[in-house]
């Protein structure tokens, strides 16, 4: 399904100028600094802002074009905001059912029981809104939106008002939801780790314009990606997480190689993503003998890109084809005589299992 948006909006000193054709499947992240127009774009898509001359189409259906304008209540969009969007005069159950009751019978694909189970809401159904924690509220908001069996879910920074602990609690629900509910999502975010964890595709925005639309893999493959603005380049590796062995560490299998993880107990097993900052990856031509660095993977240098402050970003190919970025000084790269094709060992100092 393709979402087509064309919108021009000038207000005070802000200008939004967007023309895009966005393939919608899985999770699309709208990424950019605050004030870059992410929320405005989302409001145009939802029909909360009715801009003159704007065009919004989903699949073959026109939501806005010329004089034609489908109001939000007939678009069947699930909206989830940062916070405070539950109806305070209704119980959790009535909040969840508010949209469900207004969804025509033949359109109802998701029902209370399964959504409550998916989001762990069973025990909360009869509570009032003021008896919920921040994380529980967001879960109810998500569930409520899902129960309208929407054609599209729009999430406006759904995690940003939550503390780290709660974020960690919600993340798995969000990523499960993307898979299980089968509803395409557009999620606003300014947090690279959220995007890397959840998104399949990223729309990069800057100053009211769209910079580019890339798959997450493409976005992570270029060292100058805006995702790396704050912490520098990072790689995301897919693999398989197994229970801890005798040494107390969890093996994370990447093809035939493995990375040892600390403190991953209690996390889901199976498919997982690891995030590794390029500055935490050193390169060596020979396996160092005795070292405290646990994780040493054979790699082959693929590309060397100049970075800031006399550093270079080295893209290394792992045995199974995934790419690991390493940031070292240009001087090191030169003295090791690194060039495409060079075999080396990546020494990984620290990894983070993505929640």
């Amino acid at each position: 399904m393709i979402l087509q948006v064309r919108a021009h909006w000038r207000r005070d000193r802000f200008e939004l100028a967007v023309e895009m054709q966005l393939p919608l499947e899985g999770v699309t992240a709208l990424f950019g600094r605050s004030g870059c127009g992410k929320t405005s774009l989302l409001r145009v898509i939802a029909g909360l802002e009715r801009l003159k001359g704007a065009e919004v189409m989903l699949g073959g259906q026109v939501w806005q074009q010329g004089r034609q304008f489908v109001p939000l209540h007939r678009r069947r969009i699930g909206l989830v905001f940062q916070e405070h969007s539950l109806l305070p005069h209704l119980s959790v159950r009535d909040n969840l059912l508010y949209g469900y009751r207004r969804t025509p019978l033949p359109e109802r694909r998701l029902h209370l029981a399964e959504v409550a189970a998916m989001l762990g809401l069973d025990a909360l159904l009869d509570r009032g809104i003021d008896q919920l924690s921040g994380g529980q509220r967001q879960r109810v908001s998500l569930g409520r939106a899902l129960l309208t069996s929407p054609r599209l879910l729009l999430l406006d920074e759904p995690l940003s008002a939550l503390d780290t602990q709660t974020k960690r609690e919600i993340m798995p629900f969000l990523s499960r939801l993307a898979v299980e509910a089968g509803v395409p999502m557009i999620m606003i975010s300014h947090a690279p780790d959220e995007v890397e964890r959840l998104a399949d595709r990223v729309v990069f925005m800057r100053d009211g314009r769209i910079d580019c639309i890339e798959t997450l893999r493409e976005a992570l493959a270029r060292p100058d990606s805006p995702l790396f603005d704050e912490e520098g380049p990072a790689s995301v590796l897919q693999g398989d997480l197994a229970p801890p062995t005798d040494n107390g560490l969890h093996p994370f299998q990447i093809g035939s190689e493995r990375i040892w993880l600390v403190g991953a107990s209690g996390r889901a097993r199976g498919d997982a993503r690891l995030r590794i900052l390029a500055r935490d990856v050193a390169l060596a031509l020979d396996l160092p003998g005795r070292t405290s660095v646990l994780n040493q993977l054979p790699v082959s240098v693929e590309r060397i890109d100049p970075g800031p402050d006399g550093r270079v970003t080295v893209a290394c190919r792992l045995a199974d084809g995934q790419v690991l970025l390493s940031q070292i000084t240009a001087w090191s790269a030169q003295s090791l005589a690194l060039r495409p094709g060079t075999g080396a060992y990546a020494l990984i100092k620290s990894v983070a299992l993505m929640e």
Binding site: R76, S85, P88, G99
Partner: protein, 228 residues
């Protein structure tokens, strides 16, 4: 009963009818108006807000005078009504009803404006996304979340209409059963040196007004809605 004469009862009936109709009409008019006013700030909205508040500062005679001119047989409105086969509105119940609606408008609009301003638009947007149309949103989200504002608006409108005098005298005169309301009747009793009758009606109004305000401020405290 209560030592009231048939004329007193007639005035009470006219007054009650006037207050009730005014309140109902104003709730219908003031709700969309207050919603529109609270939606955004703009020059036009501020101007409209000022016009709505005019009866608060103008002498009732000024309002009554202009209404008499406009609604009377030779006024813009009155003449138009005559031309289409109706009667003009001066010295009639319908006339003082129109006057009451205008005169009490700030008392209906202001509490609703405050209530709507304090209502998070997000709740309304969410209800739209969940498939609720305008009326549905109004009755299932806006009204339950601002009901305090509605109670205050209705009570104040009713009570304020009860206290009308100048505008009615200017526009409606003192026609028994048509435009003679309690405040006018009290004036007539006093003019006729019938202090006892004036006393009874005045005391009634005093008690009623106190109870009304007592209720309003009680609600106000509970809902923290209108500042008057």
């Amino acid at each position: 009963m209560l030592g009231l004469s048939p004329a007193d009862w007639q005035a009470i009936e006219v007054t009650f009818k006037l207050c009730l109709y005014t309140t109902l009409i104003l709730l219908v008019i003031a709700t969309p108006l207050a919603w529109w006013l609270s939606a955004k700030r703009s020059g036009l909205r501020v101007a409209v807000q000022a016009v709505v508040a005019l009866p608060l500062v103008l002498p009732p005679t000024v309002l009554g005078f202009y209404l008499l001119v406009a609604l009377g047989p030779r006024g813009v409105v009155g003449q138009t009504l005559e031309n289409i086969g109706l009667t003009h509105l001066a010295f009639s119940f319908e006339g003082i009803l129109v006057a009451s609606v205008i005169y009490s408008m700030p008392f209906a609009v202001q509490p609703l404006y405050e209530a709507f301003s304090n209502l998070s638009r997000r709740h309304v947007e969410v209800a739209s996304a969940l498939g609720a149309n305008l009326f549905d949103r109004f009755f299932t989200v806006i009204l339950p979340l601002t009901r305090g504002g509605f109670v205050v608006a209705a009570t104040l409108t009713f009570a304020h209409t009860l206290g009308e005098f100048g505008v009615i005298l200017m526009l409606g005169g003192s026609i028994p059963g048509e435009t003679k309301v309690l405040s006018v009747l009290i004036y007539d009793h006093t003019e006729a040196m019938n202090y006892e009758a004036a006393h009874r009606l005045s005391a009634m109004l005093l008690v009623f007004a106190f109870l009304t305000l007592f209720v309003v401020y009680g609600i106000n405290r509970r809902f923290q809605i209108a500042k008057l």
